[in-house]
Amino acid sequence: MFTSIGKYMMNLFRQVGGSAQMVRSSIFWLFHSRFEFHQAVEQSVTIGVESFGVTALTSLFTGMVLALQAGNTIGNIFGDPIFVGTIVAFSLIRELGPVLTGVVISGRAGAAVTAQIGTMAVTEQIDALYTLGTNPIRYLVIPRMFGFILTVPILTLFSNLFGVIGGYLVAVYALGVPGEVYFTDITTFMGVGDFMHGFIKSFIFAFMIGTVCCYKGISTRGGAEGVGKSTTGAVVTTIVLILVLDYFLTAILTAFGI
């Protein structure tokens, strides 16, 4: 048993070390070579477009279910569904917006990135990049990291928007809350800090998703089976890390008054 724990820990440390080395290498190449602007734009568009529909749909229904649950519960206690807008917006903008967007992007674009880079690794295309004067970190990793860091916060904003719209639809048409009251509840109780809270989280999730998915791809070995394992590993790792990081980030940001 100790042997398998030891092996697991060694593997974990190797992966953390490898990811850190990749990030260090990315920073090095960012300042020592030409930025692949065309690649970066292409990746941003791909990641954003691929994930937009699912993110919007997930957030819309999350907002709707939040409004329904909050309205019914508060209605049972106080007789009227009050503060539905506040509850929906707080939950979405501070927590669920960045978390749901991160999870959706991990499963959609993150998996695609790992599978693509992983396939390149097992078919020697990454070695071919070295022989053609291109460092794979510079050519593959930096544009994708850029893509995640640019699109996750933007998609989080859209996610918040669609969630609030979903909440509005249920609050107004199912619970009978006046539309002005729903929005006044949001604007009265929420400040810029609440937006910053969610926004900072989305940046950190984006960085983490980019790092894990690119590292898992680049370190893929063992043919088609290896690509499958890396892709599954990348998605599971990023989703778990999003949830774990979310708790610690909430604790830290709240401690700083954000």
Binding site: S25, D127, L132, G133, T134
Partner: protein, 254 residues
Amino acid sequence: MIEIRNLQKNFGEKQVLKNVNLTIEDGKVTCILGGSGCGKSTLIKCMIRLEDATSGQILVDGKDITQIKSEIKMAAIRRHFGYLFQEGALFDSMTVGENVSFGLKYLTDVPPGDYAKVIREKLALVGLKEEVANLNPSELSGGMKKRVSLARVLAINPKVILYDEPTTGLDPIMSDIISDLVLDLKAKLGVTSVVITHDMHSAFKIADKIAFLYEGKILLYGTPEEFRHTDNPYVKQFVTGSSQGPIQMKLMRE
């Protein structure tokens, strides 16, 4: 000149290369022979640090590349090398033309306006028509992929070309054309070639020197003539392609 001294390469517990010593002379064709999985590809990957050696030295024009820590310095050494990968390693997100011209952007001063001309010339050199440039790698046969990959190598005009089984999967006529191309590059441009091959006909035709790798060691290094007349039973069996001999006996014991 590339000098390999006491090169060892391990993958985990497995020792793939054991004290390999080999000299690759400038402007010559050196063929590396050996059974499947004996470490031939690993050996040439070590020559440009696509794999890091466990121990030993690799001297490229007198400079030990195993000691180079900087990726920028290593990239500067690699720019003189071309590498033909066993399965082609074409970028499947790009067309054939984009694959062939990929290295031009990073390794040469060729202006983008001339890329089409280079693509046409290099594809013609490997016997492919200009129209192929618009196809995707997934639309090509195995042999065509290999030829496109070779065109991609030729486009960057390297001083040294490392070929990983250049004729495998090609018909005999195309194999011979590729062999002629290797000789042509040597004669006209003085290109140094290191060729991993199982094709004895091609090896005897193109090689100035042949090295036979067996169980991670160079068992014999010499001219094609020496290989034809060797008494070494391992080499003799490999050259004649016989199923009977010490290599078979060894396999059976395992």
